[in-house]
């Protein structure tokens, strides 16, 4: 395995079973994402994007195959250790925030306990004034004392992203974070994503916005019926960059299909 990869996935399969019906969500997925890389994950509904993200976030158990994050095997890793490596921003703004906490309490809790280089920033974000300045800089127009239950869905989603930005996790997974946002909030969200990318985080963004993926991400991966159908790097956007993939055991669509 390539040791420099931040995310390594080998022969990953996942099957849901309900009422005796088996649905194959992921089939023999192989994926390498370098540290600091921004990968956009696209595909139709039901193609396995969210399943892949949930597996990488540790919200689903690995059934078959292997997942490594930062060179460490994912299976059996304690929850606290996982949380220090990976943070998932959900599609649903309600899932990523706690309604009974204030905005400021989210920031105070998200900033890791003071240690090493993060100490100053962490101490700083325990104070309401610093929290207010941070929110203003990140284009979230709410007061630190405001209860999250009173925020709009868009404001909550932006807050969930800010929480992600304060976590020490080197890998940030994003499940269509901009799906429910208006134009202004989409721009604020994109700004936060670019900031996360420039700070060296590894981003895996599920999106249906192919234009945004091509203009912002380093690479686009397209899933079709649980298989990787396309892996395209954007630095040289030409047809020759479209990497033909290893033939899957269950090729649902031709691997050379472009969008």
């Amino acid at each position: 395995m390539n040791q420099s990869a931040m995310i390594q996935v080998r022969a990953l399969c996942h099957t849901y079973e309900r009422w005796g019906l088996r649905t194959s969500a992921l089939r023999d997925v192989r994926l390498d994402v370098r540290g600091g890389e921004w990968v956009a994950l696209t595909g139709a509904n039901g193609s396995g994007k969210s399943t892949l993200l949930k597996l990488l976030a540790g919200l689903l158990p690995v059934q078959t195959g292997e997942v490594q994050i930062a060179g460490q095997p994912w299976a059996g890793m304690p929850m606290r250790r996982r949380a220090s490596l990976v943070y998932l921003v959900h599609q649903d703004p309600m899932a990523g925030t706690a309604p009974a906490l204030t905005v400021g309490e989210h920031l105070a809790l998200a900033a890791p306990p003071a240690d090493g280089s993060a100490a100053a920033k962490s101490r700083e974000l325990q104070r309401p004034q610093a929290q207010g300045e941070f929110l203003e800089a990140m284009k979230l127009d709410v007061a630190p004392s405001q209860l999250v239950a009173t925020l709009s869905g868009g404001q909550r989603q932006l807050l969930a992203l800010l929480v992600a930005s304060l976590r020490p996790a080197p890998v940030i997974l994003l499940d269509e974070p901009m799906a429910a946002l208006d134009a202004d909030r989409t721009e604020a969200c994109a700004h936060t994503l670019r900031m996360l990318h420039s700070s060296g985080r590894t981003l895996l963004l599920v999106t249906h916005d192919v234009g945004f993926a091509q203009s912002s991400a380093d690479r686009t991966i397209r899933l079709e019926a649980g298989c990787i159908a396309l892996d395209q790097t954007h630095t040289q956007p030409s047809v020759s960059d479209v990497t033909p993939l290893r033939q899957s055991r269950h090729p649902a669509v031709p691997a050379t299909q472009v969008f």
Binding site: S84, G96, T97, P99, A100, L109
Partner: protein, 302 residues
């Protein structure tokens, strides 16, 4: 003077039971756990304190032991729920059943008298100061709950307290930032039930006996007091967790004063629970009517 006495009785009773109301409200509103366990932790703690006092063990040791036993009941409920996925209500009912038998076994009967041991709350000499006999329990209880409420508010405002509240408000979010919702639930319910247990101890000490039936009706009392408190305390200008705690204490006082006045006015003690249920219904329907007129306050979480 005729009306002052029921107010005094109401205030003392309100302060005696404030721990049970705060424990219930904090578990329900802040830790996301509708906790039935207080119906076990109140009588079990009272029984533990009474039995230890009868054995001649110092009151401080008795109180600490009883509060620990009460908090263990809460921890057990949370553990049964988080470890085995048992419904929160069922987990509470199981522990209440176990607690009932334990209390009977511990006391070796349905009640234990403390009349010969004397009451800590009726002490009239504190640190060289002599308190007026009539107001001594009221003053001591006021001092005690001021200290406990202050400490609780301080704890809930720390990073640790925020973590406990985060786990109650959204366990998935808490887990994502590296907190364990399981451990938070166990610690949170242990904390809430330790306060309910303290109410049990105080009540036993004030009344001069511990009774296995003292837990019955505590839940509906806590629910009524919480609903009343949330209706009378203004929610602006204080934090949400501050509002929950202060409303619970205030609600316990208001509820018991109303009840004492109602009894003085001729309400039969046998009808108390019906009156309590009607009171809860009145507050809830009043709130429903207000919310549906579009007057819902921005701080509302319902």
């Amino acid at each position: 003077m005729t009306w002052l006495t029921p107010i005094e009785i109401g205030l003392v009773q309100g302060l005696l039971m404030a721990g049970a109301v705060v424990g219930f409200a904090v578990a329900f509103r802040l830790f996301g756990f509708p906790d039935l366990t207080i119906e076990a932790s109140v009588p079990l703690a009272a029984g533990t304190y009474a039995v230890l006092t009868q054995l001649g063990i110092p009151a401080a040791v008795g109180v600490i032991t009883a509060v620990t036993v009460g908090s263990a009941c809460g921890a057990m409920t949370a553990w049964i729920h988080t470890r085995f996925g048992v419904n929160k209500f069922l987990a509470g009912i199981l522990v209440v059943s176990v607690g009932y038998t334990l209390t009977l076994r511990l006391m070796d009967g349905p009640n234990v008298s403390l009349l010969q041991s004397g009451s800590v709350l009726r002490t009239t000499e504190v640190a060289g100061l002599s308190l007026p006999e009539r107001f001594a329990p009221l003053l001591l209880l006021l001092l005690l709950w001021s200290l406990i409420t202050g400490a609780l508010l301080r704890l809930l405002g720390t990073r640790y307290g925020i973590g406990l509240r985060a786990a109650g408000s959204n366990p998935g979010f808490a887990q994502a930032i590296g907190l364990s919702p399981r451990i938070a639930a166990v610690i949170g319910l242990a904390l809430c039930n330790s306060m309910a247990a303290l109410s049990g101890v105080l009540q036993a000490d004030y009344q001069g006996f511990a009774d296995v039936g003292s837990g019955q009706g505590v839940l509906v009392l806590a629910l009524a007091a919480m609903a009343l408190g949330e209706a009378v305390v203004p929610r602006r200008s204080i934090s949400y967790f501050g509002f929950v705690v202060i409303a619970a204490v205030a609600g316990s006082l208001v509820y018991h004063v109303i009840l004492a006045i109602a009894v003085r006015a001729g309400l039969a003690p046998t009808d108390l629970r019906l009156a309590t249920a009607l009171l809860v219904l009145m507050v809830v329907t009043g709130r429903w009517a207000r919310d549906n007129e579009g007057l819902m306050q921005p701080g509302d979480l319902r």
